[in-house]
C-alpha cells in the first residue's frame, strides 16, 4: 500500500445465516453460542454418510422478493439478494439516482459476489427432471424449465445484484471455492482502492445442501459422520472433531471509499485495511501441517494494513473442524503472528452455523466486523477436549468482551487457496 491510497470502509452489513434471519438475529445467535446444525430436512439423508447440516429456513417472499425473482433464481441468488437488501438499507445509501452525498453515481458502483458452487441445487433438481432421475444420459428438454443458462453460469448472481441496485460499475462473480467469500470482499476493496468504483456491493452466497454436494464430500470423508448428535456435530479445534458440517447462507457488505463515507457522515463498522491470497500449490484437498502459505497471506495482509502482528487482537478462524484444517490453521497463525498468537482470541463460528463453502468467508467477515464494532468476540461452540496440536485461545463456548482494534479473518479452500483479510476499528485507523 502506498501513501495517499484510497481507503475502504464497511458501511452496511446484511446476513442470512442458518438459525436466524438478518444481521442482528445472526449476531445474537453466534454470541449466545447457539448452534444451528441439525439433521438435514431438505431431503431424506438416510443413505448418506453425513446427515447433518446447518440450514437457513426463510421465506423469500416474506423477505421482499417477488414471485418472479424467486421463480427464476436459484436459492444462492435469492439469499444473496436478501442479504444485499439488508446491507443496502443499513448503509443509508440510495442507489440508482446519483447526484447526492448519499446517492453515489451509478457508474461508480460495483458488485463482487462470491460463490463456490453457484446454482448447484437448481442444476441438480432440474437434472432429476430432465434425466428422469438419472435414467437418461440424453436429457429431455421437454421437462426443462427456463433459466437453466443462468443456473449453469453463476454470473447471474452478480447480474441480479447489479440490476437491483442499478450498479453500472464493474460487476463480477468470484469463484475460488471456499475462499470465495473473502476474495469477493478483497476484490471489491481493490476496485475501490484502484479508483474503479466508490461503492461496491460485495459478499457471497452458497446453497450446497443438496444430494450431489453432500455425496461428493461424503466420499472423501470431509464432512462429519456424527449423525447421532447433530447439534454438537461441528467441533472446530476440539480433539474429537471429525469433519465439517455443511451449511448455507449469504452475507453482503457495502464497501465504501473512506472520503465518500465521511462526506455523508456515514456510520462506519470498520476499515478493510488489507487483503491477500496465496496458493499452496500442493494438493486440491490436502494441506501441509506447516501452514506456510496461509501464514504468508496473513503476513502480506498485515503489511498492506501497516499493522504489526502484535496489534492483532482477534482472529476469525476458518476452523472447519476437519483434522487437517484446524492444525494447519493453528500453525499458520503461530507462524505469522509469532508470540502474539498466544495472546489473540481465535474462534470459529462454523461450530454454530456450519461451513457454507464460498459464502462462509463473507459471513465470517460480517461476524468479524461486528466483533470489532461491538467489542464482543463470538465463541467456538462445542469445544470441550483440547487437542495438543491446537493450543491457542479458541474462546470456548462463551462469547467474550474484548476491545478489538485489529482483526483478521482467514479462509482455506479446495484448490489450495489461502486468503486473509484485515479489519481495523475506525477509531484506531482514522484519528
Amino acid at each position: 500500500m502506498t501513501a495517499g491510497q484510497r481507503r475502504v470502509v464497511v458501511t452496511g452489513i446484511g446476513v442470512l445465516a442458518p438459525g436466524s434471519i438478518g444481521r442482528e438475529g445472526f449476531w445474537d445467535m453466534i454470541t449466545a453460542g447457539r448452534t444451528a446444525t441439525r439433521r438435514i430436512s431438505f431431503f431424506d439423508p438416510s443413505r448418506f454418510r453425513s446427515q447433518v447440516a446447518a440450514e437457513v429456513h426463510f421465506d423469500p417472499r416474506a423477505l421482499g422478493l417477488t414471485a418472479n425473482e424467486v421463480f427464476r433464481n436459484d436459492r444462492f441468488v435469492q439469499m444473496a439478494m436478501i442479504a444485499a437488501d439488508e446491507a443496502v438499507a443499513d448503509s443509508g445509501l440510495t442507489f440508482g439516482a446519483g447526484g447526492a452525498l448519499d446517492a453515489p453515481d451509478p457508474d461508480r458502483v460495483g458488485v463482487t459476489l462470491g460463490t463456490a458452487v453457484g446454482a448447484t441445487m437448481r442444476l441438480e433438481n432440474e437434472y432429476v427432471q430432465v434425466s428422469d432421475s438419472g435414467t437418461h444420459w440424453l436429457v429431455d428438454p421437454r421437462y426443462a424449465t427456463g433459466f437453466l443458462h443462468q443456473a449453469l453460469v453463476p454470473s447471474c448472481g452478480a447480474t441480479e445484484l447489479a440490476v437491483r441496485f442499478a450498479a453500472h460499475g464493474p460487476a463480477s462473480v468470484v469463484s475460488t471455492g471456499c475462499t470465495s467469500g473473502i476474495d469477493a470482499v478483497g476484490y471489491g476493496s481493490q476496485l475501490i482502492e484502484d479508483g474503479d468504483a466508490d461503492v461496491v456491493i460485495a459478499g457471497a452466497s452458497d446453497a450446497p445442501i443438496s444430494p450431489i454436494s453432500m455425496a461428493c464430500f461424503d466420499t472423501i470423508r470431509a464432512t462429519t459422520a456424527n449423525n447421532a448428535d447433530p447439534e454438537h456435530a461441528s467441533k472446530p479445534f476440539d480433539a474429537r472433531r471429525d469433519g465439517f458440517v455443511m451449511g448455507e447462507g449469504a452475507a453482503v457488505l457495502v464497501l465504501e471509499e473512506l472520503e465518500h463515507a465521511r462526506r455523508r457522515d456515514a456510520d462506519i463498522y470498520c476499515e478493510v485495511s488489507g487483503y491477500a491470497n496465496r496458493c499452496n500449490a500442493f494438493h486440491m484437498t490436502g494441506l501441509r501441517p506447516d501452514g506456510i502459505e496461509m501464514a504468508e497471506a496473513i503476513r502480506l495482509a498485515l503489511e498492506q494494513s501497516r499493522v504489526d502482528p502484535d496489534e492483532v487482537g482477534y482472529v476469525n478462524a476458518h476452523g472447519s473442524g476437519t483434522k487437517q484444517n484446524d492444525r494447519h490453521e493453528t500453525a499458520a497463525v503461530k507462524r505469522s503472528l509469532g508470540d502474539t498468537a498466544r495472546r489473540v482470541t481465535m474462534s470459529s463460528i462454523k461450530s454454530m452455523i456450519g461451513h457454507s463453502l464460498g459464502a462462509i468467508g463473507s459471513i465470517e467477515i460480517a461476524a468479524t466486523a461486528l466483533a470489532v464494532q461491538r467489542g464482543l468476540v463470538p465463541p467456538t461452540a462445542n469445544y470441550e477436549v483440547p487437542d495438543p496440536e491446537c493450543d491457542l485461545d479458541y474462546v470456548p463456548n462463551v462469547a467474550r468482551e474484548q476491545k478489538v482494534d485489529v482483526a483478521i479473518s482467514v479462509g482455506s479452500g479446495f484448490g489450495g487457496f489461502q486468503s486473509a483479510i484485515v479489519l481495523a476499528h475506525p477509531e484506531r485507523r482514522m484519528p
Binding site: A116, I212, T219, F414
Partner: protein
C-alpha cells in the same frame, strides 16, 4: 507508464491446438464449426458446435490427473503449458511470483453430469472421490497452480462471455500489488447433453443445421450463435520482470481496460448500448488512446440481430466521429462462442493479427447489415496494426473492453 506485456500464448481451440495452428486456420478461412460428435443432438434443436479436432488430452495431461478432472480442465492445463512454453517461462525460484487468474463459465460439465447421473440412478456411494474437485469453477485454476508450482494470488472470475477480458483486468490488480507474472484467460467445455440443454434455454443458439447458415454475426440472416469449446491462456508479465528474466518475445502490451454492467434486466441487454460504449471509452481513456488511433476492433459478435445491432450502436457511439470507419472483425464466427474462453481467444487472435499485420475476416458474412462508421472485414486483409481493441459481453449485461498495443520498447 507501460502496461502489462503479453509474453506467451496458449491456444486450444476448435481452429487448432497451438497459436500457430489456430492462426493458420483463420487465415485459410477453414471453418471449425461442424455437427456435434459424441451424442445425438436431435432432442435439443441444436446440432452444430466448434469442437477441438484431434485434441488428445493424454498428450497434455498426466494419466493420474486426467481421471481427476473434466475435459474443461484438460484444455486449461494444455493451454497453460503452451503459454508457458511460448514464453519460455521457467518458474522462478520465488514460487509466489506467479499467479493463475482465470475466467470460468460453466465448470466441469461432463464429469458432473456423470456423477449426478450415478447418484440418482444408483445412490450416493456411486459418486466418485473427484467430483468435489473436478466440477467447481476454480478447478482449472487450482490444478494449474498445483501442477506448475505457482503460489501467487490466484483467482477465478465469472462474467460469462466477458470473463476472458476480466481475468486480464484482475491480473493488473495482482501485478500492481507486487506479483510480476500472471496466467490469464480461460477455456470452456460445455458440449455434453445437459450443458447443451442449459445453454439452449438462453434462446440465443442457432438451430440451423448447416454451418454457413448458423452463426452469422452482422449478417442480415443472423439467427443466433453456435457454442464451442476451448479458449486461450496467456502469460502476462510486468515489464521489468519480463526484462529481468530475459524474455525474448513480446506479443503486445495490455494498454487499457474497462468494465461496466448494463444493470438493466436479468437477461435482456439494455436497449441503448450506453454502458457497452462506456466500457470501451473507459479502456481507451485508461490507455490514453483516441478513437482515431484504433486500427481494429475485435467484436463480441453475439450473432442475434438485436445484440449485433446494439454492438454496432456502441461502436458507432465511440468511433463514429472518425474520418474513416473503424475496421471490425469477429474471429469467433469461425470457432463458435466459447463463453469464458472466447474473449481470451480473441485477445490471442488480436495479438497474432498485430504480429503479422493481417486482419482475419468474419465467417459467413454474405449480406452485411448496415453498419455506419464501421468497416466489417469480410476476408483476411493486410493492414498494419498498432492498436487493437477487443470487446466482449457476458449474458446478463457484462461489458468489457481491452486495448492492446504493439510493444515498441526494448526488452
Amino acid at each position: 507508464m507501460s502496461g502489462l506485456l503479453v509474453t506467451g500464448l496458449g491456444v486450444v481451440a476448435p481452429t487448432g491446438v497451438g497459436a500457430e495452428a489456430h492462426w493458420a486456420a483463420l487465415l485459410a478461412e477453414q471453418p471449425a464449426i461442424g455437427p456435434i460428435e459424441g451424442f445425438d443432438t436431435s432432442p435439443y434443436g441444436v446440432s452444430l458446435a466448434g469442437q477441438i479436432p484431434g485434441f488428445d488430452p493424454a498428450e497434455h495431461v498426466a494419466p493420474q490427473l486426467m481421471v481427476q478432472t473434466d475435459r474443461w480442465t484438460w484444455t486449461s492445463l494444455a493451454a497453460a503449458t503452451l503459454a508457458a512454453q511460448d514464453a519460455a517461462y521457467e518458474p522462478p525460484e520465488d514460487a509466489y511470483a506467479t499467479s493463475v487468474f482465470l475466467a470460468s463459465g460453466s465448470g466441469g460439465n461432463e464429469f458432473s453430469q456423470h456423477e449426478i447421473q450415478g447418484l440418482w440412478a444408483k445412490g450416493p456411494k456411486s459418486v466418485g472421490a473427484y467430483q468435489s474437485i473436478a466440477w467447481f469453477y476454480a478447478a482449472s485454476t487450482g490444478q494449474i497452480s498445483i501442477r506448475d508450482g505457482y503460489k501467487g494470488p490466484s483467482g477465478v472470475v465469472v462474467t460469462e462471455g466477458a470473463g476472458g477480458l476480466d481475468s486480464i483486468g484482475w491480473a493488473r490488480r495482482v501485478t500492481r500489488r507486487g506479483t510480476p507474472a500472471v496466467l490469464v484467460g480461460g477455456t470452456e467445455a460445455g458440449i455434453c447433453p445437459y450443458a447443451l440443454l442449459c445453454q439452449a434455454t438462453s434462446g440465443r443458439l442457432s438451430t440451423a443445421t448447416r454451418p454457413e447458415d448458423a452463426y452469422k454475426p452482422f449478417d442480415r440472416r443472423a439467427n443466433g450463435h453456435v457454442i464451442g469449446e476451448g479458449g486461450a491462456i496467456l502469460l502476462v508479465e510486468e515489464p521489468s520482470a519480463a526484462r529481468a528474466r530475459g524474455a525474448s518475445k513480446v506479443w503486445g502490451e495490455v494498454a487499457g481496460y474497462g468494465a461496466t454492467h448494463d444493470a438493466h434486466h436479468h437477461e435482456d441487454p439494455a436497449p441503448d448500448a450506453t454502458q457497452y460504449a462506456r466500457a470501451i471509452r473507459l479502456s481507451l481513456a485508461d490507455a490514453g488512446v483516441a478513437p482515431e488511433d484504433v486500427d481494429l476492433v475485435v467484436a463480441d459478435a453475439a450473432g442475434t440481430p438485436e445484440l449485433d445491432a446494439l454492438e454496432l450502436q456502441a461502436l458507432a457511439a465511440v468511433f463514429g466521429g472518425r474520418a474513416t470507419p473503424v475496421p471490425v472483425t469477429a474471429p469467433s464466427s469461425w470457432t463458435g462462442r466459447l463463453m469464458a474462453g472466447g474473449s481470451a481467444l480473441n485477445v490471442a487472435t488480436a495479438l497474432l493479427a498485430m504480429r503479422d499485420g493481417i486482419v482475419p475476416g468474419i465467417a459467413h458474412l454474405d449480406d452485411p447489415v448496415d453498419a455506419p462508421g464501421v468497416d466489417l472485414v469480410r476476408h483476411p486483409r493486410v493492414q498494419d496494426l498498432s492498436t487493437v481493441v477487443v470487446v466482449a459481453r457476458g449474458f446478463g449485461g457484462f461489458n468489457s473492453s481491452i486495448v492492446l498495443r504493439r510493444h515498441t520498447g526494448e526488452m
